[in-house]
C-alpha cells in the first residue's frame, strides 16, 4: 500500500494549488473550480487516512462533503449567474461594491 505520507503530500499539493487558484485568478468561475480542488484534496486525505485506520468514517465524511459541494455549487453558480446579469462581469476585482 502507498505510504500515507505520499498520499497526504499529494493532497497537500493539490490543496495548495487550489488556494493559489482562488487568490491569483480573478475569474469567479475559476476561483470556484479552485475551491472544488481544495475540497477534493481534503477528500483524498480523508480517504487515505480512513483506509489506513480501517474505519469507514472517512468515506462517510467524503460522501457528505460531496453532497455539500453539490449544493454549494448549485447555489454558488446561481449567484454567479444573477451577478452576471446585474453587473455584466465575472471578475472578482470588479465586484467591489462593499469597498470603503
Amino acid at each position: 500500500m502507498i505510504p500515507l505520507t505520499y498520499m497526504m503530500s499529494l493532497s497537500a499539493i493539490i490543496f495548495a494549488i487550489g488556494v493559489a487558484g482562488v487568490i491569483i485568478r480573478r475569474n469567479i468561475l475559476v476561483m470556484f473550480m479552485s475551491i472544488e480542488l481544495m475540497l477534493n484534496a481534503v477528500n483524498l486525505a480523508f480517504i487515505a487516512i480512513g483506509s489506513r485506520l480501517g474505519s469507514m468514517d472517512g468515506q462517510v465524511i467524503v460522501f457528505f462533503v460531496m453532497t455539500v459541494a453539490a449544493a454549494e455549487s448549485a447555489v454558488g453558480l446561481g449567484i454567479i449567474i444573477s451577478t452576471f446579469r446585474n453587473r455584466e462581469t465575472v471578475h472578482a476585482d470588479e465586484l467591489t461594491l462593499m469597498r470603503w
Binding site: 498520499m7 494549488i17 473550480m33 480517504i47 480512513g50 480501517g54 469507514m56 468515506q59 449544493a71 444573477s82
Partner: protein, 180 residues
C-alpha cells in the same frame, strides 16, 4: 495499488490541477478540473474506497461539472484577454501557497504523522458498509443533508430565474381625476 500507478496518477492530478489555474480558457480549466477529479476518483478506488470513488465520478464529474459547463456556456465566457489577475496577488498568492505546502510537508512528515495502522475489515468500502454507517451513526447528518440539498435546489432556482419585467401603471392625469 502499484507504486508506478500511484506516481503516474499523482503526477497527472498535479499537472491537471495546475492546468485548472493556469489555463486562460474557462472550458480548458474545467476540463483540467474534470481530469483531476477522475484521477482522484481512481486514487479513491485504489484506496479501497470503491463506492465513494464511483460516486465521485458520478456526482462530481457527471453532474457538478456539467453545471459548470452550462454556466460557462450561459455566460458565454471566451478566452480571457488581458491579465487573469493582479500581479501582486499572483506573486504573493503563489508564494503563500508554496509556503503552505512546505509547512504541510513538514507537518505530514513521518515523525509527526502518526496513524495507528489497522487492517481493513472485510467488505471495507463496499456499498453495504457505507450504507451501514450512513443509516446508523450518521443518520441525522444524512437527513439534514437531504434537507440541505432541497434548500439548495430551491435557492438556486430562485437565484437564477429571470424576474418578470414589472410594467408600472401610468398615473391617471389630473383631468381624469377631476372628471371621475
Amino acid at each position: 495499488m502499484p507504486p508506478f500507478l500511484y506516481i503516474f496518477l499523482g503526477a497527472l492530478a498535479i499537472v491537471s490541477a495546475l492546468g485548472v489555474i493556469v489555463q486562460r480558457n474557462p472550458i480548458h480549466s474545467l476540463l483540467s478540473l474534470i481530469s483531476t477529479l477522475l484521477t482522484i476518483a481512481i486514487l479513491f478506488i485504489g484506496e479501497n474506497a470503491v463506492v465513494v470513488g464511483f460516486l465521485q465520478i458520478i456526482v462530481y464529474a457527471g453532474a457538478i461539472m456539467i453545471l459548470f459547463l452550462f454556466v460557462i456556456w450561459l455566460l458565454n465566457l471566451q478566452v480571457e484577454s488581458g491579465p487573469t489577475g493582479h500581479l501582486a496577488l499572483k506573486a504573493f498568492g503563489s508564494l503563500g501557497a508554496a509556503l503552505l505546502v512546505t509547512e504541510l510537508f513538514f507537518l505530514l512528515a513521518p515523525p509527526h504523522l502518526q496513524v495507528k495502522f489497522t487492517q481493513e475489515p472485510a467488505g471495507y468500502g463496499s456499498l453495504a458498509s457505507l450504507a451501514g454507517k450512513l443509516f446508523t451513526d450518521y443518520l441525522v447528518a444524512f437527513e439534514v443533508t437531504s434537507l440541505l440539498l432541497l434548500a439548495a435546489v430551491v435557492g438556486s432556482i430562485a437565484l437564477a430565474r429571470r424576474l418578470p419585467v414589472v410594467v408600472e401603471e401610468p398615473q391617471p392625469r389630473v383631468v381624469e381625476k377631476i372628471a371621475s
